[in-house]
């Protein structure tokens, strides 16, 4: 950790990416708590896309709301940094849990309260080629199907198949047993298949070469 602080100060922010990527999140967080500004920037660059992406998927692509959630989750991380217990929970595990809980809170509030902006704006679209468009169409179709799932099923499927986490970590994030994770993922995938099977033609499966 001290080495990191030394390297960071001598090389500034432009230090080689490999040098920073070798440092674990936990060590960066300790450096952050010790006042290392480079650690603050590295953690921001490394964690924000993951937190934001997870929030986007949980919230059905509402960018403004996902930014709010990501900012809140990271704020909690910065405030937790000084008292962080090394070796207890992975930083990303902690963040996925905080992020998902914030999202689920918002979804529930959205359902119970008056629906001010009922349909979230779709994500920015910059299709470049037919292949890209098809991929984008599939990603959007999946997101639409995910939005129809119960919150916990959606969370489990996203963590397992999009974030690519292993079941034990998902179990820790969701505070349930690994069997329950497996069951949520299986039910979620079944519902996704049902929702997507009718859209195969539309999504270009006939046109694939």
């Amino acid at each position: 950790m001290r080495d990191l602080a030394g390297i960071a100060r001598s090389d500034g922010w432009d230090m080689p990416f490999e040098a920073m990527s070798a440092v674990a999140d936990e060590d960066l967080l300790a450096a952050y708590a010790a006042g290392d500004a480079t650690a603050a920037r590295t953690l921001t660059q490394r964690l924000t896309p993951r937190v934001f992406g997870h929030a986007m998927r949980m919230l059905g692509g509402d960018r403004a709301e996902a930014e709010d959630v990501a900012q809140e989750a990271l704020l909690r991380l910065w405030r937790a940094a000084p008292g962080w217990r090394m070796g207890e929970a992975k930083v990303t595990t902690w963040l996925y849990r905080v992020t998902a809980n914030l999202c689920i809170d918002r979804i529930r509030r959205r359902r119970s309260g008056p629906d001010l902006d009922s349909v979230p704006e779709p994500a920015d679209e910059t299709p470049s080629a037919a292949m890209g468009m098809q991929q984008q169409a599939r990603a959007e179709a999946l997101q639409e199907a995910l939005d129809q799932l119960p919150d916990r099923q959606r969370q489990a499927v996203i963590l397992r198949h999009i974030e690519g986490l292993a079941n034990p970590e998902i179990a820790e994030i969701m505070d349930i047993g690994p069997r329950a994770v497996e069951s949520l993922v299986a039910r979620g995938k079944k519902a996704l298949e049902t929702a997507l099977i009718g859209r195969r033609d539309e999504l270009g499966y006939e046109d694939d070469d």
Partner: protein, 140 residues
């Protein structure tokens, strides 16, 4: 722990039956792959905001300025009170002190019997049991 990965794999295979692998290698996996490739990215302005917040929340600023958040200072009296068991402990201690002073200044007759001997006949000290000093002590 013993995770049953075999079951998971089997289920995954089953899920592919709905989108047979022969048909363009489809299955839900192609949707998940598309979702990963089309991962939503935060824009530069948002990243800058997060970074500014991270720096603002950092316990020690770059120039070695004092920390933003410090634990509440704990004074000697606070520590003493906590060591004695909070306000309840303090009240008990105060009661015991008052009782001790009362017995010392104006002992009940029964105690004289216990101590015995004229030298210690405390009743002869001649202190008014409810002098203004005592009252002030008790109430203060």
């Amino acid at each position: 722990m013993n995770w049953d990965t075999k079951t998971m794999t089997e289920r995954k295979d089953k899920s592919d039956e709905l989108f047979p692998a022969g048909a363009e290698g489809a299955g839900l996996d192609s949707f998940f792959a598309a979702a990963r490739a089309e991962a939503p990215q935060p824009d530069g302005g948002f990243l800058a905001r997060i970074e500014a917040q991270a720096l603002a929340e950092q316990p020690v600023a770059r120039g070695g300025a004092p920390a933003v958040a410090r634990p509440r200072p704990t004074g000697v009296l606070r520590q003493l009170r906590e060591a004695l068991g909070g306000w309840a402990g303090m009240a008990g201690l105060a009661t015991a002190c008052a009782a001790g002073i009362w017995i010392g200044v104006s002992p009940p007759d029964g105690l004289t019997v216990l101590w015995g001997g004229d030298a210690a006949a405390l009743g002869t000290i001649g202190v008014d049991p409810l002098s203004s000093f005592d009252l002030a002590l008790m109430e203060g």
